[in-house]
Symmetry: C2
Subunit: 271 residues, 2 copies
C-alpha cells in the first residue's frame, strides 16, 4: 500500500490501489475535504496496520519454537523489513538525486540487492531455515543460494519491463521506460552508447507519454548497445552462483529439486 | 512522521516535519521530479523504518525476561500499535465522513479512547506491569487507572486546543478551531446551541484562515453553550475514576504517589 502511494500507482494486480479505493469511496460518497489526501492518509494507515498484523502473524508462527530459534528468526525478520525499506528509499533516491554515470550500475545492483535479493528471497529462506533448525552448513548454503537467485529475478524483471510481451506480463510493453526506472539494464545502455544517444535516452526514459514507436526505438538502442546481452550474461552468472551454492549441500533431494526449480523460474520466467 | 503527512503539518516540536525536511533537501539540491512527492515518499519510508526499529528495540528490551511474560508484553505492544492506527483512521474518518449529530460525542470519545487513552497511557502501563511481573490485582488496578487518565489527558488537550494560552502551549490560540478537529468539546457545543448558531459553528470551525476576532467569538459561543463546563465535568469524573482505581491498591507508596502525580498532570496541565 505504501509502495503504491510512493509509485503513484493506480492499480495493483488488476484492482484499484488502496489509496485509489479510499479516494473513490470519498468521491462517490461526496464526503468532506480533499479526496486524494483522504485516500493517501487512509492507505498510509492501512499499510501501518498491515505491518503490525504481519508482525503479529509472524509471532504466532514462531510461538511454539525454542526461544533461541525464535530469537534468530526474529532477527532475520527485522533485517528483511529494514532491507526492503532501505532498498525502497535507495530506489526513489536513484530516480531523484543525480548519480555520476560511473556509479549508476553499482547503485542499480545495490537497489536490486536490498529490494529483491535480500527481501524477497534470501531472508525468507533464512527465516525458514532458522525456524526449521537448519544446521550451519545448510544455513550457509541457503544464504549463498538465495542472494543470486533474487538478483537474477530482479534483472529478469528489468529485462521484461523493457522487452516483455504485454500479453504475457499483463503490463504495457516498455512500462519501465515510461516510468523511468533506473535499472542495471539502463545503466549498461547509458555506459555503452555515445554521448548524443545518451542524451536522447535521458530525454525519453521517464516520459510517461512515450508512444509505441518510441518504445521500439529505445528497445533497439538498448539491444544494439549490448546492454541486453550484458544483463543476460549477468543473469546467467547469478544463476550459476545459485547452482554452485547447492552442489554438494546436505539437503533432501526433493528440497534441492524445489530450490533449483525456484532458481530457474526466477532467472528464465517470461512474465 | 506518518501523522505529520496525514495532518499536513509543516513542523513537529518546532523543527521541520520529516516530509518537509526531505522536500527542502530536494528543492535546495535542485533534484529531479516533484519535490513534494519525494518528501512524502521519503517520510513514509522513514516512518516505516522507525516502526521496524521500535519493534527491534522492544524485542531487545524484553530479551532477558521469562518467555511467558515476553509473550504477554508483546501482546500489549501489538494491541497498542493497532489501537493507535485504528484511532488515527477513526480521527480522519470523523473529519471526512458526515456523522449524525447525536453520534458525534460518542465518536469523539471513541477516537480519544483509541488514540490517547489506550495508546498513550493504558497499554504502556500494562506493558511495564507485564514486564515487571505485576500480580493480577496490581495489573487490574493499572488497567482501570490508565484509561481514564488518558481520557482526561485528551479532553484537557481539546480544551487547550481551543482556549489555551498560546504563550504556554506554544501553539496559536484556537489552533483546533482552524484545523476543524472533531473533539468532544465541539460535539457538546453543537448539541447545545440552536440550529442557526450550529450552522455558523459548522461554517467557521475548520476554516484555516480564522482571524483572532472570529476565534474569540467561537470561544465565547462554546463557553456560553455550556460545552466547556461539560468537558470540565467529564475531566473531573475521569480523574475521580483514576483516583478510585488506585485506592487500596497493593503498590509501593512511592509508585502510587508517582501515578497520582501523572493523573493530576494529565487532567490539570496548562500546556
Amino acid at each position: 500500500m505504501h509502495d503504491d502511494i510512493i509509485d503513484n500507482s493506480d492499480t495493483r494486480r488488476g484492482r484499484p490501489a488502496t489509496h485509489r479505493a479510499f479516494e473513490s469511496a470519498h468521491l462517490s460518497g461526496g464526503w468532506t475535504g480533499d479526496a486524494e489526501a483522504y485516500g493517501r492518509s487512509s492507505a498510509i494507515l492501512a499499510g501501518d496496520l498491515l505491518v503490525a498484523w504481519s508482525d503479529d502473524l509472524f509471532e504466532e508462527g514462531i510461538d511454539q519454537i525454542a526461544p533461541e530459534r525464535a530469537r534468530a528468526a526474529r532477527r532475520h525478520y527485522a533485517e528483511m523489513r529494514r532491507d526492503v525499506t532501505v532498498g525502497q528509499y535507495l530506489d526513489i533516491a536513484a530516480e531523484t538525486v543525480p548519480t555520476p554515470d560511473r556509479e549508476q550500475l553499482d547503485l542499480a545492483l545495490l537497489v536490486a540487492s536490498f529490494k529483491s535479493a535480500r527481501y524477497s528471497v534470501q531472508q525468507p529462506l533464512l527465516i525458514g531455515a532458522t525456524i526449521g533448525g537448519a544446521r550451519p552448513d545448510q544455513y550457509q548454503a541457503l544464504r549463498a543460494f538465495g542472494h543470486p537467485v533474487g538478483m537474477a529475478f530482479q534483472l529478469r524483471d528489468d529485462v521484461l519491463g523493457v522487452f516483455g510481451d504485454s500479453a504475457a506480463t499483463g503490463k504495457p510493453s516498455g512500462d519501465d521506460l515510461r516510468e523511468g526506472k533506473r535499472t542495471a539494464l539502463i545503466a549498461f545502455a547509458r555506459q555503452a552508447v555515445p554521448a548524443p544517444v545518451r542524451r536522447t535516452l535521458d530525454e525519453l526514459v521517464g516520459d510517461p507519454d512515450l508512444e509505441e514507436g518510441q518504445v521500439r526505438m529505445l528497445q533497439d538502442v538498448i539491444r544494439e548497445s549490448g546492454a541486453l546481452a550484458r544483463v543476460e550474461d549477468l543473469i546467467s552468472s547469478y544463476a550459476r552462483d545459485a547452482d554452485r551454492a547447492l552442489s554438494g549441500v546436505a539437503l533432501e533431494n526433493a528440497s534441492v529439486g524445489a530450490l533449483r526449480d525456484l532458481a530457474r523460474a526466477a532467472a528464465h520466467r517470461t512474465f
